[in-house]
């Protein structure tokens, strides 16, 4: 996985952050998305954040544009992929449930806002999960959502940068 670039170089770049524990069933879907993205040369740094949402603050201040991929608690349609612009209202609208992460994404966002560490543009790709049991693979509906989420990330990155892939 790409390690973040130095601060100066990253300030005009984009990163994609996978949030979630790959050992907990569908919580690993975000990692599966960036594993898929890593097979192609995307014009963005790919970062894994496996449970400590507080580390997001360190990445957010170093990039101009950030896409976070996270998995939501089960609702009515597991496997649903959605794209959101992060705001206070977003977290009110999303299903409320205890976070599986050390600090929740909304907490990390609100803290980053309080500390003036938000990137210029912060987007959230969510995949609705079905099962988060320890040691289990992705559930079928979520596994099918992985390429859709990867395609959405690719589309967004291309909008940011004007190109999907880095030059050879």
């Amino acid at each position: 996985m790409t390690t973040p670039a130095t601060k100066g170089a990253a300030e005009n770049r984009t990163c994609v952050i996978a949030l979630g524990n790959p050992d907990r069933g569908d919580d690993g879907a975000a990692q599966a998305v960036i594993d898929r993205l890593a097979q192609h040369s995307l014009a963005a740094d790919l970062i894994s954040c496996q449970g400590d949402s507080m580390t997001l603050l360190n990445f957010w201040q170093d990039y101009a544009r950030v896409i976070v991929i996270d998995v939501l608690a089960p609702g009515s349609t597991p496997g649903t992929v959605r794209h959101h612009t992060v705001s206070d209202r977003l977290f009110d609208d999303l299903p409320q449930a205890p976070s599986s992460h050390l600090a929740s994404l909304p907490e990390a966002w609100r803290l980053a806002k309080a500390l003036d560490r938000l990137p210029e543009c912060l987007l959230l790709i969510t995949i609705e999960g079905a099962s988060f049991s320890i040691g289990t693979p992705l559930s079928p509906s979520v596994a099918q959502a992985v390429p859709k989420a990867a395609d959405e990330v690719t589309r967004l990155v291309s909008q940011f940068t004007g190109k999907e892939k880095v030059d050879a």
Binding site: Q50, G51, M54, L111
Partner: protein
């Protein structure tokens, strides 16, 4: 006759889910119970039939905040069963890894979970808006702790580089170069955190405790030592069950623990500090004197100060270990299974963590027993709650509730660990 009831359905700023019931009748605290309703996690059963080498990777999943602690107690117990001792260089690397975990866990607790209590904020976000410089400093300190874990553990959460016998890979000396500059900054910053924490408006509570921690070596304890107590106990980890026992209570999925004599005991930073403060690193000892704790500390509300002293110690110790580091010839020693029982205790950020495994001759785990620090502190947490409620029962319900929550947060409980959020019900019996 009057009885009073206060309800907190979900205790904030602790790791996990719990509730508290408090009944005050005619000015007497009749009942104080911390109930853990986090679902039991059955790790001890899950380990049965698995290979002994898998223990560190499986037990690491018990907790996302202190996975290193579980890995360390697991590998030490397995090596004890196998009759293996690691060379000093690998033991030093384990010590360095543990420093990283203490740093990230303690710094998170100090800044995100506990300091808001003393400054009158409902949460860390509100506090961050008014104490931004301190918060930024805390985040940077935590980041360095995470980096230590990543360097040695392979990743920040649930490290993957720890194995029975040592590590899968050990760093080259050059990999520590960037960390050195961070550690030098961090030592100065951590000293400032001690002074900041000591200046917080901290309530007083003086009770008599039996403190229990590792000790008996020349170092401030992390991975090694005897189990010692403030009442004169000094035993190897193999005798843990001769002196301590777990038991079940209704309304709680977590086990409690007590001495064989039936009394509570107190593990964690206050215990380690009181039993080992003379072995702190130089600046940590200096900071201890500067904040007036050179004679020890038995006010649990001052645990935030003691945690900050341990953060300073961990940074000093980490720099010392990094500066003296020479890459070992081998990342691990060979460990062959034996039909044996292994026991070990190490110092998780929250206190003594005991593991015991029976392993058969083929290397399969027959039984596992894990006694986390928060389980061991359950009784003393409730005793403190009773004392706090008695001391402050004239406060209005909301203020009493907050004081009780603050009291629980003194222990930085990891309820997820102990369940193999606080709902405060105070029944004052108003009639």
């Amino acid at each position: 006759m009057t009885t009073r009831t206060i309800k907190v359905d979900y205790l904030a700023r602790v790791e996990g889910e719990s509730s508290l019931s408090l009944k005050i009748h005619n000015g007497v605290v009749e009942h104080a119970r911390l109930s853990i309703f986090e679902p039991p996690r059955f790790f001890e059963a899950l380990l049965q039939g698995r290979r002994f080498e898998e223990a560190p990777d499986i037990t690491a999943r018990i907790c996302g905040i202190c996975p290193v602690a579980y890995q360390m107690s697991a590998v030490h117990a397995m090596e004890h069963a196998a009759g293996v001792t690691l060379p000093a260089a690998l033991r030093d690397l384990r010590r360095l890894l543990y420093c990283g975990e203490w740093i990230e866990s303690h710094v998170l607790h100090i800044h995100m979970l506990h300091a808001p209590d003393f400054l009158g904020f409902d949460d860390a976000i509100e506090m961050a808006q008014h104490h931004r410089r301190e918060f930024d400093r805390g985040l940077r300190l935590k980041k360095i702790g995470n980096e230590i874990i990543r360097l040695l553990g392979g990743r920040e959460i649930h490290p993957i580089n720890v194995k029975v016998g040592g590590f899968y890979r050990v760093p080259n000396k050059e990999e520590f170069e960037e960390l050195k500059a961070d550690l030098q900054w961090a030592i100065e910053a951590a000293y400032d955190v001690v002074k900041w924490a000591a200046a917080l408006p901290i309530p007083t509570l003086q009770r008599s405790y039996e403190f229990v921690a590792l000790g008996g070596t020349h170092q401030y304890p992390l991975n090694e030592g005897h189990i010692v107590s403030s009442k004169g106990l000094d035993i190897p980890a193999t005798e843990f069950e001769h002196h301590f026992e777990e038991y079940q209570v209704p309304d709680s999925t977590a086990l409690y623990a007590r001495t064989k004599a039936g009394s509570s005991y107190f593990v964690g930073p206050l215990a380690r500090f009181n039993l080992n403060k003379d072995k702190l690193t130089p600046l940590a000892r200096q900071a201890t004197r500067e904040v007036g704790l050179e004679n020890g500390c038995s006010n649990p509300f001052q645990s935030i100060v003691v945690r900050s002293i341990e953060v300073l110690f961990a940074f000093e110790e980490a720099l010392h270990l990094v500066e003296k580091y020479t890459k070992p010839d081998r990342p691990s020693v060979d460990v062959l299974p034996k039909n044996a029982t292994g026991m070990a205790a190490t110092e998780a950020p929250r206190g003594l963590l005991y593991h015991k495994y029976e392993v058969d001759g083929d290397g399969l785990i027959k039984t596992a027993q894990i006694v986390p620090p928060t389980s061991q502190n359950q009784t003393v947490i409730e005793e403190d709650l009773r004392a706090v409620a008695t001391e402050y029962m004239d406060l209005p319900d909301r203020d009493l509730q907050w004081r009780c929550e603050k009291s629980v947060r003194n222990f930085d409980p990891c309820i997820s660990c102990s369940a193999h959020f606080l709902t405060l019900n105070v029944d004052r019996g108003e009639s």
